[in-house]
Structures are given as C-alpha cells and as structure tokens.
C-alpha cells in the first residue's frame, strides 16, 4: 500500500498564532513561523518539511479559525 502523503495549506492571514495545531501533529512538522508576522500581528503557523505530512488532518481539526486546508497526494 502506498504511503499516504499530504499537503497542508494555510490561509496565513487568518491565523491568530494560538499554536494549537503545533500540539496535535503526530509527525511534529507544524511550527510557528517566527520570521514572519501576518496581517493580524501574529506569527502564523507553517510547515517546512511538507514531505513528512501523512494527511491526518489533526491540525485542521483543532484549528479554531479554520485556517487550514488539507490535500492528499497520490503516489
């Protein structure tokens, strides 16, 4: 069975920097982007190592501001 991979897409300007998404990622790839400040004045959540994403959608499930969209990539 092919390993399921995913892509996490953030609407960064909607992010309020609450960091809840960073606590539920099983592969620990969701981080706060400390080098960026969004339109609301927060450090938005981001993913640098997207190739590790398993498309579990945990981050999107707990996000209170519906910032996150998840796509799966078929291999």
């Amino acid at each position: 069975m092919a390993k399921r991979r995913g892509r996490v897409i953030f609407q960064e300007d909607r992010c309020k920097g609450c960091e809840l998404c960073t606590t539920v990622c099983p592969v620990d790839i969701v981080k706060m982007n400390k080098s960026k400040i969004n339109v609301k004045g927060y450090h938005p959540a981001t993913v640098d190592e997207m190739e590790k994403c398993i498309a579990c959608a945990n981050c999107a499930t707990i996000c209170p501001d519906v910032v996150i969209k998840i796509e799966t990539i078929e291999e």
């Binding site: 609450c18 809840l20 539920v24 499930t61 996000c63 519906v66 996150i68 998840i70």
Partner: protein, 248 residues
C-alpha cells in the same frame, strides 16, 4: 490529488472575532459541517445568544436570529412552531444558558420543543470579562471570585446536562469536549445525532460542549486544553445521558 479537509459551506467567509485559541471556532465549524452533511443548511434557522458568540449570526451560512440574553430557547420555540419543517438550533454559552436563561432552557426541554441546543460550557463569563458563572469550578479564580469560587457562599458548579436529562421532554442529552482531536470527532458525532433527533421529530436535543477560554482563564491556549482536561473533565463527565430508543 484530492482535498480531504477544507472550510465548510456551513460557515460564511467572515473571520471569527474570537480570541486566539478559543474553541468556539471549532464548535462553529462542527455545527456548520453537520448542517451541510445532513443536507439541511438551506432550511436551517439558528438562534444566536448573548455572550462571546453574540455575533454567531455573522458566521453561520444559514438564516439566523438574535435573542435577548438567555432567551434563545424561547425564540427558537416560536420559530420551530411557525416553521415546523425547518431545522432550528440555538447556540448558547454557559452564562446565557445556565444562568439568566435557565428557566427558558428547562421549560423548552420540558415542553419537548423539537429544536437542538448547542451549549458551550467554558466555566466562565467570557464577553463581559471573566466573571464567575454558575459553571465555574470550585477554587477557580474569576474577576468576581478573586480568591477562587467558594462552595460555602456560591454553591457547587451547575451540571446542566445531568439536570436536563431528568426531564422527559429532553430526548437527547450528551456532553462532549473539544480539547483534543478525538474529542472533536466525537463532538461532531453528537451534534449530528442531536440534529437527526430533531429531523426525526423526536423532541428536544442538547449537546453540552466543554470549551476553553484562554483569555479569561489567564493561561495560554495550549495550557487551556490541558487545564480543561485536568480540571473540567473530572467534574463534568463526558458521555450520553439520554438517547431516544429508536436511535440506539
């Protein structure tokens, strides 16, 4: 490539005004998703409360009505009786439902009004600035209980679900949480069940959802999830208190 998670059509595109990390947003999304999945978004009518979620009418992508503080069940009663084929729900916080609106919710349940109540319990008054609510835990600090709630003068926290479950008209009563992913998935199932009970015309349904208030609890959003788990879950046990026989 396929999309497995995106913003539901049950919500408008407007950004929530809630504080960072407030789980009201999660609960809004669950309600919106359930309305879409049940195919009733077009005939749904929501009743917004007074409290942090007072602007809920801006966020749900269905017809909405605003009610005076605590009176959402009375307004929903009127709407459901005039429009029996529509799907009617109230969205209320603990200050709204468990304090000023206690009479309305009890009698709406008692009469077996066929609407659904989404009850968000975060153990504090949020919008007005962190005053003690009937649901505030013993020892929990609030602006009107600076040394923590004292049972000797203010009684024990009110368990609304247990109380409502004693009323025959309340056919579906469940308490869920949104402090972790598994809890959120269960919460969605409970909300869906409550709406199905209404659509089947079985009676009144309520889902109590334990929620966080990082701002007024005075801790970070991440700490709030832990605080809920460690402090609220022992006093407010999760689970179903009533389900209609047909639905089991």
């Amino acid at each position: 490539m396929s999309t497995i998670f995106e913003r539901t059509d049950g919500l408008t595109d407007k950004q929530f005004h809630y504080c960072p990390g407030c789980t009201h947003g999660v609960i809004h999304r669950l309600v919106g998703e359930v309305l879409v999945e049940l195919g009733v978004l077009g005939k749904a009518v929501g009743v917004a409360p007074v409290g942090c979620s007072v602007l809920a009418y801006d966020y749900f992508n269905c017809d909405m009505h605003e009610a005076a503080h605590g009176r959402a069940p009375a307004v929903a009663t009127g709407i459901k009786r005039v429009l029996p084929d529509n799907v009617v729900f109230t969205y209320q916080g603990d200050g709204d439902l468990a304090s000023i609106g206690t009479a309305e919710i009890i009698h709406a349940a008692h009469r077996g009004e066929k609407f659904t109540t989404i009850f968000v319990n975060n153990a504090i008054y949020g919008m007005t600035g962190g005053q003690m609510a009937p649901t505030t835990l013993i020892g929990q600090k609030a602006t009107t209980a600076p040394y923590g709630r004292d049972a000797a003068t203010t009684g024990m926290p009110l368990r609304m679900s247990e109380m409502l479950a004693t009323i025959d008209g309340a056919v579906f009563v469940e308490r869920v949480t949104v402090h972790n992913v598994a809890g959120i998935r269960k919460a969605k199932k409970a909300i869906k069940k409550a709406f199905e009970v209404q659509i089947a015309g079985l009676g009144f349904g309520i889902v109590e959802i334990l929620s966080t208030c990082p701002t007024n609890w005075g801790i970070t959003p991440v700490e709030s999830l832990k605080w809920l788990e460690e402090n609220m879950l022992p006093y407010y046990p999760l689970g179903n208190f009533r389900t209609p026989e047909e639905g089991k």
